[in-house]
Symmetry: D2
Subunit: 432 residues, 4 copies
Amino acid sequence: MAYRDQQLKEEKVFKDPVHRYIHVRDQVIWDLIGTREFQRLRRIKQLGTTFLTFHGAEHSRFSHSLGVYEIVRRILTNFQGREHWNPDQRLLCLAAALLHDLGHGPFSHSFEKVFKLDHEDYTKAIILGGTEINAVLRRVEQGFPEKVAEVINKTYEDKLVVSLISSQIDADRMDYLLRDAYFTGVSYGHFDMERILRVMRPLEDQMVVKQSGMHAVEDYIMSRYQMYWQVYFHPVSRSAEVILTKILHRVKELHEAGYLFKHEPKHFLSFFAGKVSLVDYINLDENIVMYYFQAWINEEDEILADLCDRFTNRRLFQYVEFSPDRQIKESIELYQLFEQIGLNPEYYLVDDSSSDLPYDFYRPGEEGERLPIHLLTPKGDLLELSRASDIVESISGKKRTDHKLYYPADLIERLPDHQPEKVRIKELLGIG
Amino acid sequence: MAYRDQQLKEEKVFKDPVHRYIHVRDQVIWDLIGTREFQRLRRIKQLGTTFLTFHGAEHSRFSHSLGVYEIVRRILTNFQGREHWNPDQRLLCLAAALLHDLGHGPFSHSFEKVFKLDHEDYTKAIILGGTEINAVLRRVEQGFPEKVAEVINKTYEDKLVVSLISSQIDADRMDYLLRDAYFTGVSYGHFDMERILRVMRPLEDQMVVKQSGMHAVEDYIMSRYQMYWQVYFHPVSRSAEVILTKILHRVKELHEAGYLFKHEPKHFLSFFAGKVSLVDYINLDENIVMYYFQAWINEEDEILADLCDRFTNRRLFQYVEFSPDRQIKESIELYQLFEQIGLNPEYYLVDDSSSDLPYDFYRPGEEGERLPIHLLTPKGDLLELSRASDIVESISGKKRTDHKLYYPADLIERLPDHQPEKVRIKELLGIG
Amino acid sequence: MAYRDQQLKEEKVFKDPVHRYIHVRDQVIWDLIGTREFQRLRRIKQLGTTFLTFHGAEHSRFSHSLGVYEIVRRILTNFQGREHWNPDQRLLCLAAALLHDLGHGPFSHSFEKVFKLDHEDYTKAIILGGTEINAVLRRVEQGFPEKVAEVINKTYEDKLVVSLISSQIDADRMDYLLRDAYFTGVSYGHFDMERILRVMRPLEDQMVVKQSGMHAVEDYIMSRYQMYWQVYFHPVSRSAEVILTKILHRVKELHEAGYLFKHEPKHFLSFFAGKVSLVDYINLDENIVMYYFQAWINEEDEILADLCDRFTNRRLFQYVEFSPDRQIKESIELYQLFEQIGLNPEYYLVDDSSSDLPYDFYRPGEEGERLPIHLLTPKGDLLELSRASDIVESISGKKRTDHKLYYPADLIERLPDHQPEKVRIKELLGIG
Amino acid sequence: MAYRDQQLKEEKVFKDPVHRYIHVRDQVIWDLIGTREFQRLRRIKQLGTTFLTFHGAEHSRFSHSLGVYEIVRRILTNFQGREHWNPDQRLLCLAAALLHDLGHGPFSHSFEKVFKLDHEDYTKAIILGGTEINAVLRRVEQGFPEKVAEVINKTYEDKLVVSLISSQIDADRMDYLLRDAYFTGVSYGHFDMERILRVMRPLEDQMVVKQSGMHAVEDYIMSRYQMYWQVYFHPVSRSAEVILTKILHRVKELHEAGYLFKHEPKHFLSFFAGKVSLVDYINLDENIVMYYFQAWINEEDEILADLCDRFTNRRLFQYVEFSPDRQIKESIELYQLFEQIGLNPEYYLVDDSSSDLPYDFYRPGEEGERLPIHLLTPKGDLLELSRASDIVESISGKKRTDHKLYYPADLIERLPDHQPEKVRIKELLGIG
């Protein structure tokens, strides 16, 4: 039997707290899970620094990846035998679902920002490069790795396949909302996925949802909205993120300035140089990063040592609301005050903003254009979600942004109470 | 106000998926949580290698420790104002609950076995040594660190206080059963803790449970039984444990033999020497260990490299049932066969056994003697649990043991099919 | 000890699937629960005809009433010792919470509509009349029954007390959303009540919510919105409601026309006469009503017999969307066609509309004016919810209405296929 | 297309709180659910008088019957294509599962006891008699109603089919444990049904369970054990049951004595006469029974009036432990004392016992012989459950019985404190 059709003698199941069980029957899927590149995802947290705010959020991208696979598997079981659905795409969909996050590195957000990387490029590189993943995919079929990469890259010609893992209601989002809600323990984030899966239907170029399931979709959109503001953008996690970013900046800066590290940043050198090899990239997981941070607590450079201590031992920056437009003058004054008290404002006075667009209809040509969710009416017509749902209509296209200014409250507090800079800083920060 | 009585201006809450919220009002508790020794527990998994079997089990000892604290806090709220309860013990109980696992190192079980350590000694050392934890405790009261250590060590004179975290139905066990069930996603492990907390009563030297709550206690005992055999002793996790232990053995052996490491086991040297300093111990967390394992995949020594690759990339040993008494001859033969095919049986043929005693009444003088659970009858008498409960009686004192033999199936399979050693090995292992 | 202060020797607990346990310590509360008027609530379903759509919704007003009591009990535990909170109001609040639905009759909605009753008048009458409830309340204090009635009637002078059970985020609504979601099994309807209870604060004339809990309140508002449209206004339940209403109409009409019942509507006579005594009202529960409906299946009057059969055996009317303004002409034509085929349109062609206002800010002077939910800012100011929450703002004050037309599809289908009236009726109903 | 193969155009789903959704595709099943005999199950509570102890337990046999159907449907989806499974039996299994409780009357237990009925006879009678159910079944196939009746009666030749709804681990038990746990809100009663369903396998004459699923089965057995003693045999529910039984006895006795009822027991006459017609039986639901009880509160006969008041308004008997063997003399004395104080002991001094056998292996020839649960080993052998499971072995075959004596504590308390009979009665009952 062709490798692509080989079934395991006995179905394998993973116990999963979110989907109860994850079922694997295909030899190919089983082999992909067993590769070192996939196992590596166990060493990368799904939510980066969020565990410092919600202590339950210690789950990895490994479990999320299995979850996305499982959701796609269930969707396809439902699609079986329906018009518009080509069963030959099944294995491609499953593989793309499983591997869609393969290129994530440790604390991706910060690394990508500082080193100008894109995890999607690395997903592609791992799938197409000289990896165990690639070897498994190549056995399936000539050109199969390329197809998987295209699906993840959203350039695959069959847009229905793409929409399974990249649309405003895809398997990726459904899994992470449910999973992150479960592990953080928050009470929002739940919605009736079973219902949504039952009413999903394949069309020519997209997945749609039967109109009778609209309310479950509304619930999903609202959950997403709440999760973004309650969990993903939580200011305490962002504080850790800010510190992490500044550590990376500092290491790079020190390296470029010829600083003599007690503990050389060997694993980071290719990142500094801007040419990260696949092997280097794969080797860098969160254990490695944390190892360095612990070591650097003992560096001579005070900024690096302090920031590494803060991150390792959770001594985070405090924050205040901060509106960038209104406060330019105050910002400059704060910046100067920090310099005067000997705190490098580059590292100790950091503004950070988060913004989210909970749902959007199609705005062709605009940046970040997004494909809308379509409902399938009983008569077979398509109806864009926000036209049918009052709730979704009311939040549709409304971008919300949150600005915060981060600073080390402990170091400010340590100054003598009557030092004028301290008084003025607290006044400007509104923390009298 | 004395430090011990200081309350936070605003109660702090941690969102917890198991207990919903963890509440902190005492400044002392808040300060303890903020210490670097307590934060370090975030870098040590609650269930060691279990995440390789149940992928959800990535939670840390940090969250468990908060959970035990919260349970004790709730018990004491219930005890408030009751006879036999001395409210002056409150802070001591809370601190001991929070800190009871402080001395756990990475993958404790294996480290303790190989290096003859006891995590309880380190808990004590951290509490009494020159640590941030000690500094906080000392501020409470002269001799307070010692008291906390005694409670955890079960030598504290007030046995009621001890029983809160060390008895057959203590806050420690209640938290880990519920928490581990939650994160693995298994359906056993649940019991009605709220009910048990409501019927707990303080007596002179122990916590007891009102007889009306007996069935909730039965349920707890059965959950415990199921969790041991389904989760804690799962043969796949034990396979990872076996490999881990063998890695540590190998490193020690190589070090002692003067082997030249590409990547020196610096963090392990004091472990080899048998005199681990507090600083070394605290610095060694799971990130550090995993860093070394990844590095050692490239060592010259084939055994070390292979075992580290297996652990890092989850290429575990297979196993078969193995009864030690009946198979001595076969064991010897297997041992020799492994040598013949070039697999060092010291590292590649490992027997491992697990055993559990689900509940026991008091057997004075016997090894591992355990204090029984007592029910409080409506008339005020005490009744030992197994005398009142048929179910508990039926499993009481019945130790169950499981023996398995672990080996690298992949390396055996690679041998030519007709090689006589391969045939005989498979025959002896019963894996024809 | 005064009756109002008497505590039970041992706290009583009710196992409750929604709040886990309901706790009773006051002798007064225990005695109220034991009265026949309160026990009668077991014989009245919380959701009327909804069990014919969601088969799990068979729960009674008894369990809801206990739930509201329990929520108020928890709120007051939190209020204890806070400014603005007068602990002397405690028992009054608990009693009012427990008894707020006492006057509900069987299938209240239909009975109130047909017989022009108001269940709130009966709540008042039971509390103030010669009932067991009144006897218990009178023992508490001279004038206590009157106070309880005023709280329920929203005329009590202390508006903080009133707001506990009658505001846009009161104990009544919180319980029924959670409870109805639990018993129907729908996945919306959940919100983090524990969080809301923790951030509720008493002010002079209302309960407010700390701003930090805003998102939990948003979630509550959204749950409420979803429950209304998914459950409470479900068109199938409304179909049963329509039939029920028409049965009552028919019985009244027949009675007034001097029709000779095989089974006399004895329990209904005082309802027809418009002067329902307290005893008659209390005696009429859903068992009694269902008894009559079963009996009337055998009446000579075909309409009554048919409608009773439909309700008893769930043979409901079908429905189509129906916009009242646009279809006057068609309505008249339909009406005439129904007459032509021998179906009395008064009973067999029924329009029904439902509408809901999910949340509203204060619109003084307008009909149904509602007190808004106020957030308490960290600085102690009040902020109306829709000004702080984008989500709530977006649905605030937006009334939504749904119109449906109900008819017996089975009786239409039975007509010969080519009968012109059948063809035209199906055309007008759009059910070709 | 033959009626037996007709599928609904669109699958129908029922929202179910226990199984999330209940799926119906077969026209036959849909038609069966719509019959008046099946809809009648909505008017019969699943747990009889248990709602007077656990207020959430107001669910009906209707929802349980749908649940059993759904479980069998899922089992058969799993059986599809497996050896030993004959797909032609599918509809028969589904119909038998749905209809297995059809013959239950109101408060079955008491009615069966007093009137010497067996609900299984009525299930058979409804399936085979002139009912809507029979009409639907007959359309499927000549002899189909008989087959369904045989399956429910356990006499059907294909024992595998029988075992789906009648064995020690059948769909009936699995549904009621989960459902009753859900509605009462107790925390036991849960087990991993999804796991059990996945490891069930058809054999020639029974369903078996793969050995790998043993622990889930253990959990199921333990849940069953806890539910029996915590819920089903709860002494308070049994108190209501005792009163109910005594009401029926009294009515019968009065009727036979020629008592002139104010409110004639018309619906009961055929029960008294011992020849209950199918129509009479079907008409008698719990609404009807409760209607009579309310009416009889006003009867002249004091015993009947009192007992009906007790049942309707939940004024139950108290109870004490009572061991029948040791207390004969005391029993006689109590009996006489009750007569002396004017309480007819026939109605006011009632002993009641409950007993349960949690699991049993096969004991051929013994009364109530039960087919054991068999595990399927990896090698294909069968292993009786209690031989593989320590836990099950330990409770296997151990019958446990509980005896209680019920009496009206309120009427005893009303006697003057020094009346010697009161003193002696309290002494004998041990309620000093």
